[in-house]
């Protein structure tokens, strides 16, 4: 896999994030995050559960406003969400309950790309095929299994053919085979379209395998621990792959020192 273009598409400079509830404000979730994502790269985010991965990717998506600092996409400050940054959410309720699976995608294509219905159906079917949910195309979302919902949401995001794909643990509910299959599909699409991918994952190996860069967040209040360049570690058997995996793992373990009470199981195996 080639190197991405050397041109930043997403930039965060000294960004702090917090949640607002009426007039009250939560403690700071993310502090002083500075990073830049190159056009066409695959940028991974990992970190302990509850540290702020979702919060961060939502800020890039335009769903949260930074408390301090600035988020820019293509050099323009992010003001609101848009279909140029297709988002796959972490939870299972992201399909419209009142449309069939196919229609969910067709609708998204019609409103964002103004495709004629016929063409939208073709494209939607293609992507449903790709994520292997074509058999459930005419079902309503509440009849789908958790993994099928996630795959359908992924298909919708892919079908939008955006500049940037923002994905919050898109493979979280999938079995190993399906997950692996979709990782490969994602790579294929990326190679074909050069889309920029920002992906939150809880799997170190997924991060190293897919990513050019891996952002490691510390536990809360989250800061950038390190941004690891993994663009050379695409071969699973290479020493670089193993080295990166172990490095990331040590970064994370350091964060969770107090959690480890018993034997430490090699993480690369049991997960």
């Amino acid at each position: 896999m080639g190197q991405p273009d050397k041109e930043p598409i997403v930039q965060l400079s000294h960004v702090s994030l917090a949640y607002q509830h009426g007039h009250a404000q939560s403690a700071t979730i993310l502090e002083d995050v500075t990073l830049s994502i190159q056009r066409g790269e695959k940028f991974m985010i990992i970190g302990p559960s509850g540290c702020g991965k979702t919060t961060l990717i939502k800020a890039i998506g335009g769903f949260l406003k930074a408390r301090q600092g600035e988020v820019t996409v293509n050099g323009v400050p992010v003001k609101k969400p848009g279909p140029d940054r297709a988002f796959v959410f972490q939870d299972f309720e992201q399909l419209f309950a009142w449309r069939t699976v196919l229609d969910n995608i067709v609708y998204a294509l019609q409103v964002t790309k103004h495709l004629p219905r016929r063409q939208a159906i073709d494209k939607a079917s293609f992507y449903l095929e790709l994520v292997d949910v074509a058999a459930a195309a005419d079902k309503y979302p509440h009849m789908l299994s958790g993994g099928m919902k996630q795959r359908a949401a992924l298909a919708r995001a892919l079908a939008l053919e955006p500049d940037i794909l923002l994905m919050d643990e898109p493979f979280g509910a999938l079995d190993a085979i399906t997950r692996n299959q979709l990782q490969l599909e994602l790579n294929t699409i990326w190679r074909r379209t050069g889309v920029t991918i920002v992906l939150v994952t809880h799997s170190i190996q997924e991060a190293v395998f897919l990513g050019h860069h891996v952002l490691v967040l510390s536990s809360s209040p989250a800061r950038v621990l390190e941004i690891v360049d993994t663009s050379q570690a695409e071969d699973l058997d290479s020493p670089a792959f193993t080295a990166h995996s172990l490095h990331l793992q040590s970064l994370l373990v350091r964060q969770d020192k107090d959690l480890i009470r018993e034997q430490v199981v090699p993480l690369s195996i049991v997960q």
Partner: protein, 271 residues
Amino acid sequence: MSVPLFRTAEKRTFTFPGWLRYILIGAIFLIAWQLYVSLSGVSQLLIASPLATLQALIADFANGQLPSAILVSLQNLAIGMGIGIVTGLILASLSTFSRFGRDLLTVLTAVFSPLPGIAILPLTMLWFGLSSSAIIFVVVFGSVWPISANTDTGFRTIGTTTRMVALNLGLTRLQTVRDIFLPAALPHILSGLRLAWAFGWRTVVGAEIVFGVAGSNGGLGWYINNARYFLNPPAIFAGLVVISLLGVLLDTLFQFIEQQTIVKWGMKQAQ
């Protein structure tokens, strides 16, 4: 059979079809009524028996009095509710998208919804004349608040993820309301419509009774009031029965709509 056990599934071994059960309950009700009238010794000037009511129904259907009264009331109701629905939906939409709209809806609902239509009839007459417009106006006034209040609640209880997907697609406000908010809030909206219809009816009939604007074409309220004036309890009850029957009819329609929408979409448990 694999049935979700969410409700007393063990007992569901055999059940009558819905309509039969309703008719059974209705029949028990009628018998109780007949027995009360026959056995309690209550003055027949005050309460009519089901049989006498049936006779009055048949007679006044045959001579055209009831059909024309029904038509007049239904017409006033339909026009009034049509306007009420559109206005209510618009108010709720404005309330969702602008702070001024929200303040306006809050103030309007608070100030006007407790005002009885009867109390504003004199004013209405001043503005609309001694015509059915006055009655239509109070019907609008009676139905707009349940619709806008329920719709507003519906809009505001839409899940965060659904909202975020809409934002992500970059929908216009019109699209958001039409394609996302209305279907997502449909359970609330339908329950608002159900009430609006019931209260619209009350207003039509009540206004005709109290205020008695008739001309040559009095509605059902006028019919009932006349029957009262001339101490004709069977006709009073015939009028009430017609109102109820229309209610049952509309309820069936609502159930059908629910079945075809929110139940099918898994947003509401089946009846």
